[in-house]
């Protein structure tokens, strides 16, 4: 029975496929989110503007779940599972840079209400994220994992876990445990360094690195070489600008706060 997208010897087609394992995971994630959000809301006071902020958190979580679903299910999950490295990389970008931060933003708590959630040393987070990134991009590991549903599921969920590890210090549900803005900016910048290596290797490699994609029936008219170059491009062109955007956002918010505090002191 096929329950998760994995490499297949069938030629690629746009015929819809069901992946019940993905649905089950998404359902569990959504159900857990509902419980967590309700618990968060129940513990909070409801000052002015709380409703708007809650709507924003609900929206963030819903979009986080939707991005996770989009990354794992047909068609992207199937394409990335065994046909196109570019699609596989798009899954990585969606899970790590979109789904993971949105899920964390959805679980934001009011000040002081994150006591049960540990803060994590940013170096540990970077280590976990980069270790998962490295392991899931090593050709031998990818070639061994992707032809099996369990292997493919582990890689996919590893990216989600890696994404959460990456964003945890920057978007900790408890604002009191988040990194300060300047350190957060440095942290996010540091997170973009290691992925440059696989991205550059993919873009400039002489030959395809991954047998599972090189020997796959071709899809969407891309040669194995073009597919690999596109994958490298996606990794840097989508992943990095998102981090830069986040860094800029943090910077301007921080600046605005400093100015506000200055004005308040002056008055």
């Amino acid at each position: 029975m096929t329950w998760w997208c994995a490499a297949s010897s069938e030629p690629w087609s746009w015929a819809w496929r069901a992946y019940p394992g993905v649905w089950l995971f998404i359902a569990l994630l959504a159900a857990w989110g509902v419980v967590a959000l309700r618990g968060n809301f129940a513990r909070e006071a409801t000052p002015a503007g709380a409703t708007v902020r809650r709507a924003g958190r609900i929206a963030a979580f819903v979009f986080g779940v939707l991005f996770t679903w989009m990354a794992l299910d047909w068609p992207l999950g199937r394409l990335g599972g065994g046909y196109l490295l570019a699609a596989h990389t798009a899954q990585y970008v969606l899970l790590t840079f979109f789904a993971a931060p949105l899920l964390l933003l959805g679980l934001r708590r009011g000040p002081g209400d994150g006591a049960g959630l540990p803060g994590v040393n940013p170096l540990v987070s970077l280590l976990v994220y980069n270790a998962l990134l490295a392991a899931t991009h090593v050709p031998a590991i990818v070639d061994a994992m992707m032809p099996t549903q369990w292997g493919s599921a582990i890689v996919d969920l590893g990216w989600l876990v890696g994404g959460i590890a990456l964003w945890w210090p920057a978007l900790h549900p408890d604002p009191g445990k988040r990194l300060s803005p300047p350190i957060r900016m440095g942290y996010l910048f540091a997170s973009t360094l290691a992925p440059t290596i696989p991205a550059a290797l993919l873009m400039f490699g002489d030959y395809p690195y991954y047998g599972v994609y090189e020997l796959a029936p071709r899809a969407l008219g891309l040669s194995a070489q073009q597919d690999q170059q596109l994958a490298g491009l996606i990794m840097k062109v989508i992943g990095d600008p998102l981090i830069w955007f986040s860094t800029a956002f943090i910077f301007f918010r921080w600046q605005a706060r400093l100015e506000r505090e200055e004005r308040e002191e002056e008055s």
Binding site: L133, Y207, P217
Partner: protein
């Protein structure tokens, strides 16, 4: 061609081919294990190690001792120095003789029209969803990266196993999309079956229902590589990677007509200023030839050496031109004849993983090889 029992069995779903070679049943075998990738934990180091050692360069396994190189197929893993990534033919049978029609409508005498070229022969069909386009795409990708002079010495010949749907125009269009230099051949069913038999390839299986135009054809999945001496050198089952072709094509091209150069490798001293190289040359041709000398790209000086016992002492003396009569074998090996070269320690060649070596033959001319550099082994130990 006998099926090689060491090849993994993996049936093509819905496409079992009774009595077909095992290669015909290969379909997306798991990518070969790549040594050195399993212990990756540290992140940045892991990236560099993992990709740098991913097998895109020739492997650096142990040396192939003289004489044994060519005659045993590689069972699995990475090829040894000078060895092929493909399955080396235990019996270098001559190129099959058959005449078919090329996609321009001209008769194509396979043996005559590919003489003197490295010839890659494949039996497939253009409606094939996987094996055929992947083989062709991988070959085209690698040939496009080879120096034009070398690529032009390779002939890729695609013989259709589906003459009904593979019209000459379709063959030309389909192959042209990969590489316009690829040659497509067709013929009557009887002619094609005769060609398959001549090449020692299993017959094809196709049982389309009346009116069915989307049927699949069961066919052997291996590319047969005939050296420029006109003999079968190796077979490449489905699963052969671009890096394998990139590794093997220069080796397959390296042989001067009739001369097989096997098991070539070199070692460089830790001081990086000197090295030695070894290989075996078998003259399988009908004409005598003579090895005149060796050149190593990046070296300042090269010389062929022989070890001779003089007055109870083993001395290294220059080896003059080495004649190779038909059937002769010349072995350059550690502890015996070899070639030495001097390097500038700062040169890129001194730290290269492989060297470009040119052998000068009196008759065949210059033959260039890519020779892997193995770690230095102290002969005193």
């Amino acid at each position: 061609m006998r099926p090689d029992a060491r090849l993994p069995r993996r049936p093509i779903p819905g496409r079992a081919i009774p009595e077909a070679p095992i290669e015909a049943q290969l379909h997306r075998p798991p990518a070969r294990s790549i040594p050195g990738h399993d212990a990756v934990v540290a992140f940045a180091l892991a990236f560099a190690l993992a990709f740098a050692g991913c097998g895109c360069a020739p492997s650096r396994g142990g040396p192939d001792t003289a004489g044994g190189g060519a005659d045993s197929a590689r069972a699995s893993g990475e090829p040894g120095p000078g060895r092929l990534a493909g399955f080396e033919a235990p019996d270098p049978t001559p190129k099959p003789g058959f005449v078919l029609t090329d996609f321009d409508g001209r008769p194509f005498d396979f043996r005559r029209d590919t003489a003197g070229r490295l010839t890659l022969l494949f039996f497939g069909y253009t409606h094939c969803p996987d094996v055929c386009p992947i083989h062709m795409a991988n070959l085209a990708a690698v040939l496009s990266r080879m120096p034009p002079g070398e690529a032009s010495r390779v002939r890729v010949v695609f013989v259709t196993t589906d003459p009904v749907r593979d019209t000459r125009a379709r063959l030309k269009d389909w192959l042209g999309a990969f590489d316009p230099a690829f040659i497509g051949l067709t013929g009557t069913r009887a002619e094609l079956e005769a060609a398959l038999r001549a090449a020692g390839v299993a017959p094809t299986v196709a049982q389309p229902a009346p009116g069915d135009t989307s049927y699949e054809v069961g066919h052997a999945a291996q590319v047969l590589a005939y050296g420029i001496d006109g003999r079968l050198r190796a077979q490449y089952p489905f699963g052969t990677r671009q890096k394998d072709w990139a590794h093997d094509l220069p080796i397959l091209l390296g042989g001067a007509p009739g001369l097989a150069i096997l098991g070539a490798y070199a070692r460089i001293l830790p001081t990086r200023d000197m090295g030695a190289g070894y290989f075996t040359i078998v003259n399988r041709g009908a004409a005598a030839d003579t090895l005149l000398g060796v050149r190593v790209e990046g070296a300042t000086h090269e010389q062929l050496h022989a070890l001779k016992s003089v007055g109870g002492m083993v001395r290294m003396v220059p080896l003059g031109p080495a004649p190779l009569a038909p059937g002769d074998t010349l072995r350059l090996r550690e502890g015996g004849n070899h070639f030495m070269f001097d390097l500038s320690p700062g040169s890129s060649a001194a730290r290269a993983e492989s060297l470009s070596v040119t052998l000068e033959f009196a008759r065949a001319g210059a033959t260039r090889l890519r020779v892997p550099v193995l770690p230095y082994a102290d002969p005193a130990q």
